[in-house]
């Protein structure tokens, strides 16, 4: 039996279906995407006109591209800070002896937002942010900071932060859950030993908890960063890239190019760039953390 498993050829029938599916639905579209980005075409056009790398040149001169890139990077940075950093802290607090009794309750409360559909969340927050009837300004006024009240989504300077904040509200709980699961796997002997050695809570957090769940932190960071570069729905529902182009992200840029401006070629160009960015980031993260080769 063992020998059969070591025989490479007999593994083929098992791998082949998955391989074919991946080729067909992942790699082929990827290659086609790059191919299509060399043509000028729209859903309405009769033929594709070859333009070579013209769209790539145009993309790098497009100011909206840089706005989008900046917004995506902001998304990634803030998300790492709040979702990974914040999630970690919340998880550690919930794991603490003092809070463990209440953990299931808080776990549920924090997790609920992440299971609500983004369209619903977007509409909900649109209402909460409304400067005239929304709860956000209501609370601000109620605590006496009237001058802070603001048209959060309607002002091109604050709109992107307002959108990013919604993501943090929605997904920090999800990260907390992931970290809690990882923390549950840490052997309690480690904590007991550290207590005997006289370490305080902060010290155990850095010396035991973090190294023990390093892989989960890495996975969390990758999910967050890639998610930040793929973000689309929140922006689409809440601002659709506006006011002006101030909340444009790469995702909405693709959508706008393809489905509003009838430039499928330009859209595939942006999509290719998104692919390159996310791919590079994941490779980089894997390399830096020397992870992914766990025994």
């Amino acid at each position: 039996m063992l020998k059969t498993y070591q025989n490479g050829r007999s593994a083929l029938p098992f791998i082949l279906p998955a391989l074919l599916l991946i080729l067909m639905f992942v790699f082929l579209p990827m290659i086609l995407n790059i191919y299509y980005s060399l043509f000028r075409w729209s859903a309405f056009s009769v033929e594709k006109v070859f333009v070579g790398w013209e769209y790539y040149a145009r993309l790098f001169q497009d100011p909206v591209f840089y706005t989008a890139l900046k917004n995506n990077s902001l998304y990634a940075l803030i998300s790492i800070l709040f979702q990974v950093g914040g999630g970690l802290v919340i998880a550690a607090i919930l794991e603490d002896r003092l809070f463990r009794k209440w953990q299931p309750l808080f776990r549920t409360i924090f997790f609920i937002p992440s299971v609500i559909s983004i369209a619903v969340v977007g509409l909900l927050w649109q209402l909460l942010y409304n400067p005239d009837i929304g709860l956000v300004n209501g609370v601000i006024k109620a605590i006496g900071q009237t001058e802070w009240a603001h048209a959060w989504l309607g002002d091109s300077k604050t709109a992107i932060y307002a959108v990013i904040a919604v993501s943090q509200w929605q997904f920090t709980g999800y990260m907390t859950m992931l970290f809690l699961i990882a923390m549950h796997k840490i052997p309690s002997e480690l904590y007991e030993a550290s207590m005997i050695d006289g370490a305080n809570r902060i010290q155990t957090f850095f010396a035991i908890t973090i190294p023990q769940i390093k892989d989960m932190i890495l996975v969390g960071t990758i999910i967050t960063v890639i998610g930040a570069f793929k973000v689309f729905d929140e922006v689409y529902v809440m601002t659709f890239g506006g006011p002006g182009r101030s909340t444009e992200v790469l995702g909405t840029m693709v959508y706008r190019a393809a489905f509003r401006n009838d430039e499928m070629g330009y859209a595939t160009t942006i999509a290719t760039v998104i692919f390159v960015i996310t791919f590079t980031l994941s490779v980089l993260q894997m390399k830096l953390s020397k992870s992914g080769r766990e025994v």
């Binding site: 007999s10 005239d132 048209a151 309607g154």
Partner: protein, 436 residues
């Protein structure tokens, strides 16, 4: 034991895999078949009114048509206004094009014409003069290109300032005839502590509709038509900047409610119904909703004339919505039969009565079928010398996109009219190169 049956296993797996893949594909092809098993003709019909208050009308009309033509089956699909813009692009790209589909008039329809996707309906209209003459001429024109007719209008829409009569009477105000009178009126309302106009520009088409009228009134008709054509557009006439300035003036003098960019059009209309504002700029099709929701008397007036404007001052902002027939349809005769049925006087009257929409069919919108104000609105539109169509569907999509994304910035003061027009001009050049 694996070794022996290895090749068998592999064949099995490949077979299963392919059957999976192809059963998926088969599913989609069978739906696009154009004739059902019993020799019936199936026409695919796509419209944009899935809302529960509108869709029963279409279901009833389709049922009646199928009853009268037992050999034809209508397979109907509906998606809402915003998704329709995407849906049409996806189906055009995907190849499974409905026989009859919704389209806005103007440039939006011309796009189908340019790519050869729309059937030329001119011969059918010429053949049946009675059908041709049943339309108010101004409603057919926006669906024509180069002397050919590509679309059939279903409803007719104009944009008007609806006002709260009670507020007007309280401050002894009258409907303005000119833009200066309009500004004067707004000023008086403002001084009296009222919010003169409610505007919800969260989706920027709301303010673009103002600009559709202002551009038309400020820029000479020939110049404007040349500029709106993607092949010759330049947008260098100073009237375009003036038009933006007129709109900006309304915002700068605080004639609109606060936070226009944070509120939706729905929110603005709700506030108007709640009598928080004196006026709102709405379409004729919204009149029945106004009537249903507002407690006080109301009336309407079109965008006032601008005396120094170079455009024709007797135009109305508005456009018909309608249908085009796919050039790939296998059953053009039947598709036309259905469109004729849909636009018959009987069904048009039914539409006006049931949905409150103004009809492009002569005489269908009258005192008996429609709300008083809707019938009056149609009269105003009949007397108009032409229509300024919605700017966002009347110019090339890329130019519309520049206008749409910048209009919010104009209103929040981030961009000046000159800056916006420079961008429009640059994109117009780009479009010109691509189209020619």
């Amino acid at each position: 034991m694996f070794g022996k049956s290895k090749s068998k296993n592999m064949t099995m797996i490949i077979l299963i895999l392919f059957s999976l893949v192809f059963s998926g594909c088969a599913g989609s092809t069978s739906t696009s078949q154009d004739s059902a098993g019993d020799g019936q003709i199936v026409l695919k019909f796509l419209h944009k009114w899935p809302q529960p208050e509108y869709s029963p009308y279409f279901e009833e009309v389709v049922k009646e048509f199928e009853k009268q033509h037992p050999n034809i089956k209508i397979s109907m699909e509906a998606v809402a206004d915003e998704p329709m813009k995407d849906k049409l692009r996806v189906i055009m790209g995907g190849g499974s094009v409905p026989d009859i589909m919704f389209s806005w008039s103007g440039e939006f329809a011309r796009k189908f014409v340019r790519s050869g996707a729309a059937l030329d309906l001119t011969p059918y209209l010429r053949e049946d003069a009675a059908w041709n003459d049943s339309f108010i001429p101004a409603s057919l024109q926006p669906f024509s290109a180069e002397g050919k007719q590509y679309g059939i209008p279903l409803r007719f829409n104009g944009k008007f300032f609806v006002y709260n009569k009670q507020i007007f009477e309280k401050h002894q105000l009258e409907e303005p005839q000119t833009w200066n009178e309009f500004l004067d009126l707004l000023d008086k309302l403002k001084q009296a502590g009222e919010t003169p106009i409610m505007l919800g520009n969260g989706s920027p088409w709301a303010a673009i509709h103002y600009l559709a009228g202002l551009n038309q009134k400020m820029v000479g008709t020939d110049v404007r038509i040349k500029d709106y054509d993607p092949r010759t557009g330049e947008f260098t006439d100073p009237g375009y900047i003036k038009a933006l300035e007129y709109l900006k003036e309304l915002q700068d003098k605080q004639y609109f409610n606060d936070n226009v960019n944070s509120n939706s059009h729905d929110m603005a209309t709700q506030l108007f119904y709640a009598e928080k504002g004196a006026m709102i700029y709405v379409e004729l099709e919204e009149f029945p909703t106004v009537e249903k929701n507002i407690q006080v008397e109301w009336d309407f007036f079109p965008m006032p004339e601008i005396t120094e404007g170079k455009g024709n001052q007797h135009y109305i902002t508005g456009a018909p919505d309608g249908f085009i027939v796919s050039s790939q349809t296998k059953h053009p005769q039947e598709a036309i039969m259905f469109l004729k049925f849909l636009t018959s006087k009987e069904n048009a009257e039914k539409m006006v009565k049931q949905l409150g929409w103004p009809s492009p069919i002569v005489g269908a919108t009258n005192d008996q079928t429609a709300l008083k104000q809707v019938a009056e609105g149609v009269e105003v539109m009949k007397q108009a010398e032409g229509m300024a169509q919605w700017l966002d569907t009347d110019v090339h999509a890329k130019i519309a996109d520049v206008y749409l994304s910048n209009i919010q910035l104009l209103l929040d003061g981030t961009k000046s009219p000159e800056e916006i027009m420079r961008e429009v001009q640059a994109v117009a050049q780009e479009v010109k190169q691509e189209v020619n």
